[in-house]
Amino acid sequence: MSTTTTATTTTKLWGGGRSPFNVEYGKLMMWYFLMSDALTFGAFLISYGTIRFSTNGWPDPNKVFKSYPFAAEGVNAPLVFVSIMTFILIISSVTMVLAVQAGKDMKKKAVAINLILTIIGGLAFLSCQAWEWNHLHNEGAWWGMNPFPNADGTASSTNFTNYFFTITGFHGFHVFSGVIINIIMLIMTLTDQFEKRGHYLMIEKAGLYWHFVDLVWVFVFTCFYLI
């Protein structure tokens, strides 16, 4: 562990000739990239908040997101489907942590299994999202179309669906690219690339990205479905 080996003082850490954070540059870049990406998502969500604050009424999410696959017509089950999606993502994050840890222990098989589970989780999440989008689209919701009235029964602007599709779409795009990255990691693991390198640091970076996707969902989920 990095913390145990870091018995050095601050001045020595920053004295040059080494990383002051005990991390290789790739991980550093990944962290700062994620910060940058956090600002992208932040800007989206804050824009959403700004528009919501500048509008008199807003649709009630519980009247919009209230169905789930194979449900009967006109079922009223708010929050059910989205909580399933949330748990799928949390669980896939857990398997990713296990994959990273297995990588640190140099256990190839465990890495591969956990990566596969993570990929399945990611695909499951994407399928859920696809179903939800399709369902909403059938109800007449899309970019520029909003069939849902405000909570107080007045006419709503289209910005509710505009933001919903844009932000969940952007998040879904991140999940998708995360799945692609994980598939690449899986292939690299199975072809022994990391064994040859002697370390699984790439998995760690892919893991950071995957957790970030989960992190963003925490915010998206709260902003769109709960409040």
């Binding site: 920053w14 040059g16 870049m29 700004t50 140099m106």
Partner: protein, 602 residues
């Protein structure tokens, strides 16, 4: 296994690679000059691309100055080169707005962001911190090529049927969001957005690399407080870019949706002539302005900070004195970097921004005067009683300080929301930001080029041409932008096509003509520089010593023509800060010299 163990094997491998780099690098023309991964070559690519864009952007300003200075005259040759955009030798209003917009975009993003920090961050960071290359040379290469493609797309937009985007470089909706709003808002705007998106990617790739390199790849002994101020400035620049460009990116994505997918993020209550009332409801055009300026304000510091850093370094070297207040310089850079994010709405005082919120932004904005003043006084005290060598680089550095003071002071006026009611969108603003951000950073860039040219190409540039270039440019810059203050105070708005039809602004006809004339002369003078640059690359006087400026920093310990990997053999170790000039009676002590037993403390 610990992280650190991995690190050591990793960096060990890296060093080993560097040592033998001269033997097993079979470079072809393509890998050496085109898809190069050598930071020095990438820097030169950025520089030359930036120069091409500077010429194009400058030419645009000459064209629209022609319209402003001589609104009644016709220039048949304009029709020859611009075709339908200059019917009868008159630049059309559409072309005028397109020229203004493209001039702004190109100069701000392609020249002063990519051309300036792209060039010098790439060139100086590895050389001055003692690294063989950037943390990720491959991403560095990608950064350049994304920038290059962004430029190509922008160039294409100039040639489309409906013309390039013409709603101002800030691209405010609804003009930018509605294709029906103006000819330039059609394909031109799509290409503009694509180009800018690519540019954001480029700057992100570059910025992450610069940050990781400065943090992780410093040579032994190069602690953060021994870094030259150039590196500090470029580091903060990269941080600003990484944190602010994504917000612009989000803003652009929303804009793309508004343009193409019927959303109304920025649109509400709009009536377009010939189209009628639009169905879009509920959006807010101010939201775009918030998002844009959340990048836009840090962007002006992204432009300015590298110039500040280079000026600090060049000034210290050529005054033969340590930089005055090294820690204060870092502190003020840091303060500027923080404040850069807190003041964006001072660009929006009269947009309908909440006045109370505006007053908070006034306070924060005026705070910027503090670190800026610290920097100015530190530069002046560095010059004070120095043993000044007036090299061209030094002249441009001093010119930078002069311009930064003149332009910065008017910023205090503009930062007041009450004064802003009168001054907003007038030529006063044009004068302010051109002096403090545009020309000043351009001077920083010239200073950097003249100073580091010997390191880049192993030759000197011609001094006589450089002196002429300097004096024409600084005199011209003041002659162009100083009168604009008066025009602005008189209320003359920016972005108008023809002032001669306005009773209140007719009086400035002569002044406008004078400004246009000087602008043309200054533009012509830049060709002296270009000739000097390209001539000197091939035919300039050769550098014969490793350290022609007798400078302390690490880049001058490399061979005159450093190969990929920069140092032959071991990377030197650093024992002191970069500013030991005139210490204990010694003219200069390079950073690689160990601290002697009888040396005084600074």
């Amino acid at each position: 296994m610990s992280n650190e163990a991995v690190l050591h094997t990793h960096s060990g491998a890296h060093d080993g690679h560097g040592d033998h780099s001269h033997e097993h690098h079979h470079e072809t023309f393509i890998t050496k000059y085109v898809f190069s991964q050598d930071h020095k070559m990438i820097a030169k690519q950025f520089l030359i691309t930036g120069m091409v864009w500077a010429v194009l952007g400058g030419l645009m300003s000459v064209l629209f100055r022609l319209q402003l200075g001589y609104p009644d005259q016709s220039f048949p040759w304009l029709e020859d080169i611009l075709g339908k955009w200059a019917k009868g030798g008159h630049i059309t209003p559409e072309a005028y707005y397109a020229l203004v917009t493209t001039h702004g975009t190109v100069l701000v993003f392609f020249v002063l962001t990519a051309g300036l920090s792209g060039t010098f961050a790439n060139f100086l960071i590895p050389l001055q911190i003692g690294a063989r290359d950037m943390a990720s040379p491959f991403m560095n290469m990608l950064s350049y090529w994304f920038f290059f493609i962004a430029g190509l797309v922008m160039l294409c937009s100039v040639f489309v049927e409906t013309g390039p985007f013409s709603g101002g470089w800030t691209a405010y909706p609804p003009l930018s969001a509605l294709g029906d709003a103006s000819p330039g808002s059609k394909t031109g705007m799509d290409l503009w957005l694509i180009s800018m998106a690519l540019f954001v990617v480029s700057s992100l790739l570059g910025g992450l690399n610069y940050i990781a390199t400065v943090l992780n790849m410093r040579t032994k002994g190069m602690s953060m407080t021994r870094l030259p101020l150039t590196i500090w400035a470029l580091f903060f620049t990269a941080v600003l870019g990484v944190l602010s460009f994504p917000v612009l990116f989000s803003g652009f994505i929303l804009l793309i949706f508004d343009r193409n997918f019927g959303t109304s993020f920025y649109l509400s209550d709009i009536f377009v002539n010939g189209v009628g009332a639009l169905p879009n409801e509920g959006g807010s055009a101010i939201l775009y302005q918030h998002l844009f300026w959340f990048l836009g304000h840090p962007e002006v510091y992204i432009i300015l900070l590298p110039a500040m850093g280079m000026v600090s370094e060049i000034m210290s070297v050529n005054s033969r004195k340590p930089i005055f207040g090294y820690m204060a310089m870092i502190g003020s850079l840091f303060a500027i970097a923080i404040l850069a994010f807190l003041v964006w709405a001072h660009h929006m005082f009269v947009t309908g921004l909440n006045p109370f919120l505006g007053s908070v932004f006034v306070l924060l904005t005026l705070l910027i005067a503090v670190p800026s003043a610290i920097k100015v006084f530190n530069w002046l005290t560095t010059l004070w009683r120095g043993n000044i060598r007036f090299t061209p680089g030094m002249l441009f550095a001093i010119g930078f300080v002069s311009l930064f003071i003149s332009g910065g002071l008017t910023g205090i006026w503009l930062g007041n929301s009450a004064l802003n009611i009168h001054l907003h969108d007038t030529y006063f603003v044009i004068a302010h930001f051109h002096i403090v951000m545009g020309v000043a950073s351009m001077f920083g860039m010239f200073a950097g080029i003249y100073h580091w040219f010997p390191k880049m190409y192993g030759r000197f540039m011609n001094n006589t041409l450089a002196y002429i270039h300097f004096w024409v440019t600084i005199a011209g810059a003041y002659m162009i932008f100083w009168p604009m203050h008066y025009e602005g105070l008189a209320g003359m708005p920016r972005r108008y096509y023809d002032y001669s039809i306005w009773e209140s602004f007719k009086q400035f006809q002569g002044l406008n003509q004078f400004i246009s004339l000087v602008a043309m002369i200054v533009f012509a003078a830049q060709f002296l520089f270009l000739f000097n640059f390209f001539y000197s690359v091939f035919k300039g006087r050769k550098v014969t010593t490793q350290n022609p400026w007798e400078s302390n920093t690490l880049e001058w310990t490399t061979p005159i023509h450093p190969g990929h990997g920069n140092w032959v053999g071991e990377i030197p170790e650093v024992h002191r800060w970069a500013y030991d000039y005139g210490k204990d009676g010694v003219d200069f002590i390079p950073q690689t010299t160990p601290v002697g037993a009888d040396e005084s403390h600074h």
